[in-house]
C-alpha cells in the first residue's frame, strides 16, 4: 500500500514544480509581447554591492566555525532518527525500555555538555 500512497507525493511534486513555473512563464510571455523590458547590459547584470563595483571575489573560503555546527547538527539528526521508532512504541512498553533510551540520550547529552564545557558552542 505504501507505494500507492507515495504516488500522491509524486503527483504533488510535479504540480509543485509546475506551480512556480506558471508565473515565471507569464513573465516570459510578457517579454515576448514587448510588455516587459529584457535589454540587459553590463551595469544591470553586475552584482549589487550598495552601488559600487564589487572589489573582491565572493566564492572564497568561509569561516570554519560553521562546520562544527553542521557536524553537531548531523549527529543530533541521526540521534533523533533513532529515537523516533522508540517514541512510537514507547507508550505500549514497560519501564525497562525507558532505561535503554535514557542511556542512549544520556550519552549524547554528555556530548553536549562536553561541547559546552570546551566552549565549542560559543559563536564567534
Amino acid at each position: 500500500m505504501i507505494v500507492e500512497e507515495y504516488f500522491r507525493v509524486f503527483l504533488l511534486l510535479i504540480l509543485s514544480i509546475l506551480f512556480p513555473l506558471l508565473p515565471l512563464s507569464g513573465s516570459y510571455l510578457f517579454s515576448k509581447i514587448n510588455y516587459r523590458p529584457f535589454n540587459s547590459n553590463d551595469v544591470k547584470s553586475a552584482i549589487y554591492e550598495c552601488g559600487v563595483e564589487s572589489e573582491d571575489i565572493t566564492w572564497r573560503q568561509f569561516n570554519a566555525k560553521y562546520f562544527l555546527y553542521a557536524l553537531g547538527f548531523v549527529i543530533f539528526d541521526v540521534e533523533v532518527i533513532f529515537l523516533f521508532p522508540w517514541a512510537v512504541i514507547h507508550s505500549e512498553q514497560s519501564y525497562d525500555i525507558f532505561l535503554k533510551v535514557a542511556i542512549f540520550v544520556g550519552v549524547l547529552a554528555f556530548g553536549l555538555l562536553y561541547a559546552w564545557k570546551w566552549r565549542a558552542l560559543e559563536w564567534q
Partner: protein
C-alpha cells in the same frame, strides 16, 4: 429616506459581506464532495464496476486532492499577502493597500502582474543553472509539506504512518536550496545571508525534532490525523499538556521560515535582503511567496499538532471541520504577523546561543519528563484525569525551567529604575566638568 441614504456608503461592504457568505455556503456544500477524497474515490470506483479500473479512480481522486491543495496555496498566497499588508498597516497606523478593488483586495493580483512585467536580471557572474533552479525548487518542500495535513475527518491528502517525519524531512530540503540561491548569486550579502540561514536552520531543526519527539511519545503515532484524534479522545489540547514543546516548536519554526524575530537571514538593515538579494521581478516574488506560504504552513502544523486540529468544543458538528481548521491556522498566522509588527530582530550569535544552550538542553529535560509521564499513564492504569494533573505540572515546570535558565545564565532583567539615565541637575558652565566624578 435619510436612513436609506445613510446606508449607501456601506453598500460596498454589504456586497462584500454577501459575497463572503455566499462563498462560505458554496464551500460548505462542496466540502464533502470536493475534499473528502475517499468518498470521491469510492464513487468513481462504484461507477466503474470493472474492478480493474481502480487505478483510474485512484489517480483521479489523487489529482483532485493535489489540485485542491495547490489551489488552496494559491489562494493563501493571494489573500495572505493582502491580510499581512493590511494588518501591519493597522499596527503601524497606516491605511495599507486600499486602491485596487474593494478594500484593496485585488492588490496581490496587481502586485503579481507588476512583478511579472519587471525585467528579470541575472548577474553576469552568477552560476546560471543553480540561480534559475533555486526559486523554482524552493516551492517543492513548501508545497509537499502540505500533503499530510489533516483538514478534517477523511480529508487528508496523504494519510501515511510517518506524517510528522515526512514533513520534517521534506522541509529540511529547504536549507540547501536557500544556500544554492545565495551562493549562486555570487554576492557577498547573499552569501552572508545564506550562511546565516544554514547555520540558523541547522541549529533550530534539532529543537524542532525534539519537540516533535515529545508529541510522538505521548500520542504513540506519527500520523497527524491520529494525533488530532488522540487529542480529542483524551479531551486535551497538546499545547496545554506540553507547553514547552509548543513554545520550542513555534519559536524554532519562526527561525526556519525566516520570520521576525528570527529573520536574520534576510535582515534588510544589515545584509539588505540576504540570500535573495540578486533576484528580481517574479523570481524575487517567488521567494516572498514561499515565505508567506511557509508561515501559513506553520499555522497548519501548530493547529494539527498542538491545537486539536479541526475540533473545537463540539462546534465541528455544526460548522464544516475544515473551516475550523483554517480558522485556527489563520489565527496562528495572525500571531506571526503580530510578532513581525512588534519585535526587533535577534543577532545571529544570540540566536545560536539560544538554540544550543537553552532550547536543546531544556528540550532534552522536557522530553525525559514527558517519557516518564507517559510510562506512568500507560503502566499504572490510572484514571483518565491524571493527564490534567500532568498538564498543570508541565506548565509549572515550563515556567520554572525558563526562570531557572535565565538565572543560570544571568540574563539581566533590566528594571526601569536601573535603565533610566541619571539626571544631572543644573549643569552650569564649562567648569562643571571638574566637579564631576572621574571619567576614567
Amino acid at each position: 429616506m435619510s436612513l436609506i441614504f445613510s446606508f449607501i456608503p456601506y453598500i460596498k461592504r454589504l456586497i462584500v459581506l454577501i459575497l463572503i457568505l455566499f462563498g462560505l455556503a458554496v464551500g460548505f456544500i462542496l466540502s464533502k464532495a470536493l475534499f473528502d477524497l475517499s468518498i470521491y474515490s469510492n464513487a468513481v470506483f462504484d461507477f466503474m464496476i470493472d474492478k480493474s479500473s481502480y487505478n483510474v479512480a485512484y489517480f483521479s481522486s489523487s489529482l483532485i486532492g493535489a489540485l485542491g491543495i495547490i489551489s488552496f496555496i494559491g489562494l493563501v498566497l493571494l489573500v495572505g499577502s493582502w491580510v499581512e499588508r493590511r494588518m501591519i498597516a493597522k499596527f503601524q497606523i497606516r491605511v495599507g493597500p486600499n486602491r485596487v478593488g474593494i478594500f484593496g483586495l485585488l492588490q496581490p493580483i496587481a502586485d503579481a502582474i507588476k512583478l511579472m512585467q519587471k525585467e528579470v536580471l541575472v548577474p553576469a557572474v552568477a552560476d546560471k543553472l543553480l540561480f534559475f533552479i533555486a526559486p523554482v525548487a524552493i516551492f517543492i518542500p513548501a508545497i509537499l509539506a502540505w500533503a499530510p495535513i489533516p483538514w478534517g475527518p477523511n480529508m487528508t491528502y496523504l494519510n501515511i504512518n510517518i506524517g510528522i517525519l515526512y514533513i520534517f524531512a521534506v522541509s529540511s530540503l529547504t536549507v540547501p536550496i536557500i544556500f544554492f540561491a545565495g551562493w549562486s548569486s555570487m554576492n557577498h550579502y547573499a552569501l552572508l545571508g545564506s550562511m546565516r540561514t544554514v547555520a540558523m536552520m541547522v541549529s533550530y531543526e534539532i529543537p524542532i525534532s525534539l519537540s516533535l519527539l515529545s508529541v510522538v511519545i505521548i500520542t504513540g503515532t506519527l500520523n497527524l490525523t491520529e494525533i488530532v484524534l488522540w487529542q480529542s479522545s483524551n479531551s486535551i489540547w497538546l499545547g496545554l499538556l506540553i507547553p514547552f514543546s509548543l513554545f520550542t516548536f513555534f519559536f524554532s519554526s519562526t527561525a526556519e521560515i525566516n520570520r521576525t524575530p528570527n529573520d536574520i537571514a534576510e535582515a534588510e538593515s544589515e545584509i539588505v535582503a540576504g540570500y535573495h538579494i540578486e533576484y528580481s521581478g517574479m523570481k524575487a516574488g517567488l521567494f516572498m511567496a514561499v515565505e508567506l506560504g511557509n508561515a501559513v504552513l506553520l499555522g497548519a502544523l501548530v493547529t494539527s499538532l498542538f491545537l486539536n486540529g479541526w475540533f473545537l468544543f463540539g462546534l465541528e458538528n455544526y460548522i464544516p471541520p475544515y473551516i475550523i481548521f483554517i480558522a485556527k491556522t489563520v489565527a496562528i498566522y495572525i500571531v506571526l504577523i503580530w510578532l513581525r509588527a512588534t519585535l526587533p530582530r535577534f543577532r545571529l550569535d544570540q540566536l545560536m546561543n539560544f538554540a544550543w544552550k537553552m532550547l536543546i538542553p531544556v528540550s532534552i529535560i522536557n522530553f525525559f519528563m514527558i517519557a516518564i509521564e507517559t510510562t506512568i499513564i500507560t503502566n499504572l492504569d490510572s484514571s483518565k484525569y491524571i493527564i490534567y494533573l500532568f498538564a498543570i505540572i508541565n506548565i509549572a515546570v515550563f515556567v520554572g525551567l525558563i526562570i531557572l535558565w535565565s538565572k543560570i545564565f544571568k540574563i539581566d532583567k533590566f528594571s526601569p529604575e536601573k535603565i533610566a539615565p541619571i539626571f544631572a541637575q543644573k549643569i552650569g558652565g564649562i567648569k562643571a566638568m571638574e566637579g564631576t566624578k572621574s571619567v576614567d
